[in-house]
């Protein structure tokens, strides 16, 4: 295990160099669907963070018991259990947000970020490293969601997190909060990230 990244490396890599959304193109369903405002984006990032952290810790604890051909099934069932908890929690304490996010909370189960992190990191490394990895990836995911959501909400409604910041003369570009805006904003931001990465020689 000498060549495995340490906890700190895992944490740092998750935020920018291996950002789950911009660099690995994982978890795009939720990325596109919940970024019509900052609040749903942050809620989604929190939900994914909780599930990712819990699943990574549990899988790292049982990693010596996993049989190779059954591991994906085990991952999925553990994730589904935690997603059920998040779903019930949101329905109990943040009912309107739970309604607004609708099916995208249960769809965290098939979010590739979590299965990918379980496979790449948690099933091979210690609990502490797996937890650091989960926190780093969550930070990267939240960063990506917030950047997309900020652009869409600002241009689409002239507000940030529900507070109006642009002058009333701003003609709201409603299309930005509708589905096409998600594709366009994410496509343009992705190109921007690629451009910056190429200029800094980070490959891309």
């Amino acid at each position: 295990m000498a060549d495995q990244p340490t906890a700190t490396e895992r944490f740092v890599q998750g935020i920018l160099p291996e950002n789950p959304v911009y660099r690995q193109l994982l978890g795009l369903c939720s990325t596109l669907a919940v970024t019509n405002g900052l609040k749903p984006a942050l809620t989604m990032a929190g939900a994914v963070g909780f599930v990712l952290l819990s699943a990574n810790v549990i899988i790292s604890l049982i990693r010596n018991l996993l049989k190779p051909h059954l591991r994906i099934v085990v991952f999925t069932l553990i994730i589904a259990a935690f997603v059920t908890m998040v779903d019930r929690f949101l329905a109990a304490y943040m009912y309107s947000m739970s309604k607004a996010l609708g099916p995208y909370i249960p769809l965290i189960i098939v979010n590739c970020i979590i299965i990918c992190r379980c496979e790449v990191c948690a099933s091979r490394q210690s609990v502490f490293t797996a937890a650091a990895d989960a926190v780093g990836q969550t930070a990267g995911f939240a960063l990506a969601l917030v950047s997309i959501a900020a652009v869409r909400e600002l241009l689409g409604t002239g507000a940030l997190a529900g507070v109006r910041v642009l002058p009333a003369a701003w003609p709201d570009w409603v299309v930005m909060v509708l589905p096409p805006g998600a594709f366009l904003t994410f496509g343009l931001l992705l190109a921007l990230v690629n451009w910056v990465a190429a200029r800094r020689g980070g490959g891309g």
């Binding site: 193109l25 795009l28 369903c29 596109l32 669907a33 994906i72 099934v73 999925t76 069932l77 589904a80 259990a81 997603v83 059920t84 779903d87 019930r88 099916p103 249960p106 769809l107 189960i109 098939v110 590739c112 299965i115 299309v175 509708l178 589905p179 096409p180 805006g181 998600a182 594709f183 366009l184 994410f186 496509g187 343009l188 992705l190 190109a191 921007l192 690629n194 451009w195 190429a198 891309g204």
Partner: protein, 233 residues
Amino acid sequence: MGYAVDIFLIAVSAALINNFVLYYFVGICPFIGVSRRVEMALGMGGAVTFVISIASFLSWTITTLVLMPGAPLTRWAAGFFLPPEAAAAVDLTILTYIVYIFVIASSVQFVEMYVRRFYPPLYKSFGVFLPLITTNCAILFACLVIMGHVVGVENPAEAWDLGKALTLGFFGGVGFTIAIVIMAGIREELELCDVPEPFKGAAITLIIGGILAMAFMGFTGVDSGLRAALGGG
């Protein structure tokens, strides 16, 4: 008459108006990944439509018979060790997600084995895509939509029956196929174009997806117009 109109509207709505990919953003991963060639896109679309129909059938059946409050099988099983009124109140909906993902994963496995054994040509054309489908959100999404129309519906007469559930699943898959095939057609032409370096790959695909989504927004409101024209409830 009213029932036929309902089925027709569910089909049009799932395939075009609220297209799974371009409106609900489910199934984006294959939309970006497997949309390079039209034949590949057709294979993927066929595989998804096939599995999504089976998963809709299974999820509707399991929800109605086992998971929803007062479901017959659960009541019968719980009746062995609970008094009748407590057995009727057993509610297993908290297990929904775990059961669905299990059903999807195992049905994908079975479909793959079955197709490989009995339809080798079909397996050649879309068999390679089957394992990928387990983590395709479109399938779980269809199951969840069906659940939303079966469990917790205020008026029992409005709960979906098996026909409506299957229609949603099948035409959701058709809508996915339409979107991914259009995308593949555009991307084949795109290979001849001079795309700026940072846009190569996923970025330009997403922007094309945005333009397609805008085109599909043209269908908004078609369902209420159709309902009025057909005179359905």
